[in-house]
Subunit: 227 residues, 2 copies
């Protein structure tokens, strides 16, 4: 993917995640879990990436395979290089995670109506849970700050789960991890015509840099430098 | 630094590097060597980064120190994370490098006139050699391709060494390394008003992506996600 292209939430203020009230859930609770992806997640991850390519109207440029993702996405400890946070959702609570270095982040959202997921079989993730989205990011470096940051390559939430705050959860999870590691920036890219996404990002505190353009050397033009 | 901002070479076709003819150098030869930087290079590297900030008219945003660079730039083997190629030049040939995994790249350029370097003392690099520039890059990832690439954060050549093909040498060195590793892309950013740089990059085979904008979360807006 050229760069992160999250689906724009058209509502001005996405529903903020709320914690479960002590008296129990009200309305239609949906339980969300963000956890670090591992090699066993490659199948749904590849499907999500392809859906993003379709969303960007560029599926003809999509050549990633489950095998290529498996071979180069999970070769370093989390956050040191390419890292994927997977978003899973469920109508019932997730079991307590075993204590570990990177525990999952959980949220509960109370919706007015339950979500009908036409792809629940395809994205089934054990029990009632389904995979609903992901964010792929990796360290970058600012010589101005003299410190690393994170660059978000992709942020994607499946169609039926959009406009509910899940995109914000994924982006916030990366930002929180950056702060935790003492990093100086989180950066990503957006298409200039995607005004809803731009509005959403600005509401999250991001600046949109208008003067910079991405340059890309790829395909035969890149291969020519191999001699 | 926001992104790579190499000084634009205003000549349409930079002088290509030539190999030393067997009859010996003609004109005013300048020997160039590109090698992987190490912690002992932090002092000139920090000066070059500051010069780049001045070139971009943003020195007030420059807060990197030699110490911050030392602590986070050299913690992984070359190419796995942040990597710096240092450009050194000398009027006399460089000694043969010891055989190693990543031997330096050397070139000779024959100039019409010798270069007067007003900062030769400050950037002295042993013998007749001086540090003349650098490129800082690190792996990125394309989910379209399902493979890594390199992102160039900074590419800089000191003023008196510009327009001689050194920027092209540095960029080519990164591209060649990407091909060697089977990577799919090399990307960087350019300011949209820097038409000479854009022309130069296009001549090197790069596409300039017009629709994408960089989003940045930093400072207090980023810190707010730490809670």
């Amino acid at each position: 993917m050229a760069a992160a292209a999250p689906p724009p939430p058209p509502t001005p203020t996405p529903t903020p995640p709320t914690t479960l009230p002590e008296t129990g859930p009200v309305g239609n609770p949906i339980f969300a879990r963000i956890r670090i992806a591992n090699p066993s997640d490659v199948r749904p991850l590849h499907k999500l990436m392809y859906q993003l390519a379709v969303f960007e109207r560029l599926p003809h440029l999509f050549s990633a395979t489950e095998s290529s993702l498996s071979s180069n996405l999970f070769n370093t400890p989390p956050f040191q290089s390419f890292t994927v946070f997977l978003l899973e959702v469920s109508p019932t609570p997730f079991p307590d995670a075993p204590v570990g270095a990177h525990p999952p982040i959980t949220h509960v959202i109370n919706l007015d109506l339950p979500i009908a997921d036409p792809e629940s079989q395809e994205f089934g993730s054990g029990g009632d849970a389904v995979v609903a989205g992901f964010v792929l990011f990796f360290p970058n470096y600012s010589t101005f700050l003299g410190k690393p940051g994170f660059y978000i390559e992709d942020l994607y939430v499946r169609d039926c789960y959009r406009r509910k705050g899940f995109g914000k959860m994924l982006l916030s999870a990366v930002a929180a991890q950056a702060v935790k590691m003492g990093y100086g920036r989180v950066e990503w890219c957006v298409l200039d015509w995607n005004v809803n996404a731009i509005k959403f990002y600005e509401e999250m505190g991001a600046q949109v840099l208008q003067e910079w353009r991405i340059c890309r050397l790829t395909g035969d033009a890149l291969q020519a430098y191999g001699n």
